[in-house]
């Protein structure tokens, strides 16, 4: 009896036309699927989509808020992409973000009278150092005993979040805050300057600069090359005389420092104090953004903006009576189809019978 099996075969050269068309088809299919869900819950799909995109990318306020949401995504995605390049699966960006927020907050809370030219650079340095050192806690056991970095970096996220909780519920609680879990507000000197009267802050400049620097490093520098080689094969890299341990330390430190900068930018640019629930999971979304961007720093900037829009739009459509759960589902559907489409760009489906006859499609 012949049994058909489905097999995926890598396309030798992904067709350039398809590479261009498939993402569009994917998004359209996702929107169609979403439309079915929306009609089932009694909504008008077209109106919902118009709101979703109109209020995020189509209005001035929506656009600035999309950017506000995109900044921490850009920074954390850039952070994890550096580690992913070396096949170091740092999924601790969330914790590194929190530690960065912690490091940065220490300065204004301890020395609130520092002038701005000492305060902001100091906060940036401390935030990055704290995020980087936190990532080293993952890098050390990985480099020395080959401890799985996925587990350690993930678990350290919970530790970092609880550490910030401990501070705002305990020692760093604002003495004038009626025992509520917020730190004292930062002085003005500790606030990143913003763009006009929007909430976009200097974190955007950090993100774009870092993306350019990383793009140059990956493309032109020896170090960028060795990261890629180590990622491809540690053994080959060590034959070539590359110091793998040292690179694990540096890559994780810088990866964590960039996510730490995201935390600094969030407390200094947006919230103005340390508090519980700083990040609604930017560090986790960063993994998806980095992956979708194929670890290309400049693509990360664009994909982060799209993700920011998707998340902001999810709240906007609630005003039309779309429940949060349906908005989240819609975001999931779009992701699913884009990722699925990506596979079809690079692979073709082959139906093969057991006997080895192939039916090509």
């Amino acid at each position: 009896m012949n049994r058909l099996t489905v097999k995926l075969e890598k396309r030798l050269t992904p067709s350039p036309v398809m590479a261009f068309i498939i993402p569009f088809i994917s998004v359209i299919l996702a929107l169609l699927l979403g439309a079915i869900f929306l009609s089932l819950t009694g909504q008008k799909p077209l109106d919902v989509y118009a709101t979703m995109f109109g209020e995020t990318l189509g209005s001035k306020y929506g656009l600035t808020e999309t950017m506000v949401k995109a900044i921490p995504l850009m920074l954390t995605s850039l952070g994890v992409s550096l580690a992913f390049k070396m096949q170091l699966w740092n999924i601790g960006a969330e914790g590194q973000l929190y530690m960065g927020a912690f490091g940065a907050s220490w300065l204004p809370l301890t020395f609130p009278t520092l002038p701005i030219y000492l305060m902001l650079p100091g906060m940036i340095l401390l935030g990055m150092a704290a995020g980087g050192l936190w990532a080293l806690l993952t890098a050390l056991p990985r480099a020395i005993w080959k401890v799985n970095e996925i587990i350690t970096s993930l678990m350290l996220n919970y530790v970092a979040i609880l550490w910030v909780d401990y501070l705002v519920y305990g020692p760093w609680k604002d003495p004038k805050g009626s025992n509520f879990p917020l730190s004292a507000p930062f002085p003005d000197a500790a606030r990143l300057p913003g763009l006009g009267n929007s909430r976009i802050h200097a974190g955007l400049i950090f993100a774009v600069l870092l993306a350019i620097i990383l793009a140059v490093v990956f493309k032109y520098s020896r170090w960028g090359y060795s990261i890629k080689v180590i990622g491809s094969s540690e053994r080959a890299a060590s034959y070539a005389g590359m110091n793998i341990k040292r690179n694990i330390f540096w890559v994780m430190f810088i990866s964590g420092a960039i996510s730490g900068l995201a935390g600094m930018a969030e407390v200094s640019g947006i919230i103005g104090k340390l508090q519980h629930g700083l990040s609604p999971g930017y560090g986790y979304t960063a993994i998806i953004v980095a992956w979708l961007s194929k670890l290309n720093p400049l693509t990360i900037i664009i994909v982060s903006v799209l993700f920011g829009a998707l998340q902001v739009g999810g709240y906007s459509v609630q005003l039309m009576g779309v429940p949060a759960a349906v908005a989240t589902m819609l975001q999931g559907a779009i992701l699913f189809f884009v990722l699925g489409g990506d596979i079809l760009t690079n692979y073709r489906v082959i139906l093969a019978s057991r006997k080895g006859e192939e039916v090509r499609h």
Partner: protein, 397 residues
């Protein structure tokens, strides 16, 4: 070679190096990495919990006199807890006031998102915006500056402005009454309390509950476990299980899901619900619940804004206003207990007596409120110590 093949091929080809050495080993290693990554992602996702969708009634024909009122919720309206209780209040208002049009935004995190959501609601022409979580305090104040013609009502905070008032209820009063029920019910003299975060509100609730327990059962202790989350069905249920394992036979909770009540029911033990009447979710366990009843207050506030009599007060409503109450009792509650509750309730409603009347001792046995004195509101709002009989700690500042 099914689906596995392409995944491995992809990774190998991405590496760009055709390797002869130990290909099998390498594939195996890659798989470990991928599987671990997937499992980790699952862990993250499962932490988000499930969200229940609910179709909201819409009023398409908005007449000109209609006043637009908006609500911002920290959890999903289907949480059967905090956000659900506010949404019940909203529905009550819509029923009583046909000229009101409401919108809601649910599951809004307390970080950067809140300010945008509140701004958008104000831009959409809402005249009254209720922000129903403590973490919305500064975002509410910030947005209020930009929209002086909009009235903002922030639940459970302490900051006001010309167009920002605050509102809350004296939940400690029903908490005390439910404590009486739990104190009478326990056989092991250990009552578990699943609590979210050590905020003054939660600490006050634990203290009031414990005073209620010890008023009828001076031997009993209340053991507190912090979950560090307001809304996490799994974590809350697990915390409940751990308290049951430690010997508790009644569970109370300051959480937004019925998880601890379900844990009590699964173990054949009892529980005291919170936010809304939780007997629907765990009928065999729930003795009673300390409940919020926001509807009448929402009606009153919207009317005041319409009549232009609204003031930026800090409303802290007592049980006699009906904003907080105890729900009906389960069949396992004895008549004797019901009578005790009714007696205390009558005293509180008549304002003859309140919960934090001295003498009240802290955990170390020191008298904090002398006999005959009543704790002032200011101190109650900043509660950061436990009364005698609580087994638990609050982070030191």
């Amino acid at each position: 070679m099914l689906l596995e093949s392409w995944f491995c091929t992809e990774i190998l080809e991405e590496n760009g190096i055709k390797e002869e050495e130990s290909l099998g080993m390498r594939l195996k290693h890659k798989w470990t990495v991928l599987v671990t990554l997937l499992v980790s992602l699952l862990l993250i996702i499962s932490g988000c919990g499930t969200k229940t969708a609910e179709t909201k009634s819409q009023q398409p024909e908005a007449s000109k006199e209609k006043i637009k009122v908006a609500f911002v919720y920290v959890g999903p309206v289907g949480d059967a807890g905090w956000s659900a209780s506010h949404d019940e209040g909203r529905k009550y208002m819509v029923e009583k006031m046909p000229n009101v049009e409401t919108s809601i935004v649910e599951s809004v995190p307390e970080g950067a998102d809140a300010e945008r959501v509140i701004t958008q609601l104000a831009e959409k022409g809402n005249k009254i915006i209720f922000t129903t979580s403590f973490g919305y305090m500064d975002p509410t104040i910030n947005v209020a500056k930009k929209f002086p013609d909009v009235v903002f009502m922030h639940c459970s905070g302490y900051k006001t402005a010309d167009n920002v008032g605050t509102y809350f209820g004296r939940m400690y009063q029903p908490r005390y009454l439910t404590g009486i029920v739990a104190g009478k019910q326990t056989k092991t003299n250990l009552i578990g309390y699943v609590a979210a975060f050590p905020t003054p509100e939660v600490v006050r609730g634990i203290n009031a509950f414990t005073l209620g327990v010890r008023s009828v059962n001076p031997e009993a202790k209340v053991k507190v476990v912090w979950t560090n989350t307001w809304y996490d069905p799994v974590a809350e249920k697990d915390a409940g299980k751990s308290l049951l394992a430690a010997g508790a036979d009644v569970l109370a909770q300051h959480q937004d899901t019925p998880g601890p009540m379900q844990a009590a029911q699964d173990a054949g033990k009892f529980g005291v619900g919170y936010d809304s009447d939780m007997s629907k979710m765990a009928p065999k366990a729930v003795l009673t619940s300390a409940v919020w009843n926001w509807g009448p207050f929402y009606v009153k506030t919207v009317k005041a804004v319409q009549d232009k009599t609204w003031k930026n007060d800090q409303y802290w409503g007592p049980m006699s206003d009906g904003i907080v109450d105890v729900s009906s009792f389960g069949p396992m509650v004895s008549e004797d207990t019901k009578k005790l509750v009714a007696e205390s309730k009558a005293k509180i409603l008549a304002k003859q007596w309140d919960v934090f009347t001295g003498p009240i001792k802290n955990q170390a046995g020191e008298v904090k409120v002398p006999a005959g004195q009543v704790m002032p509101d200011k101190d109650m709002l900043q509660f950061n110590w436990f009364v005698q009989g609580v087994d638990g700690t609050i982070p030191k500042s």
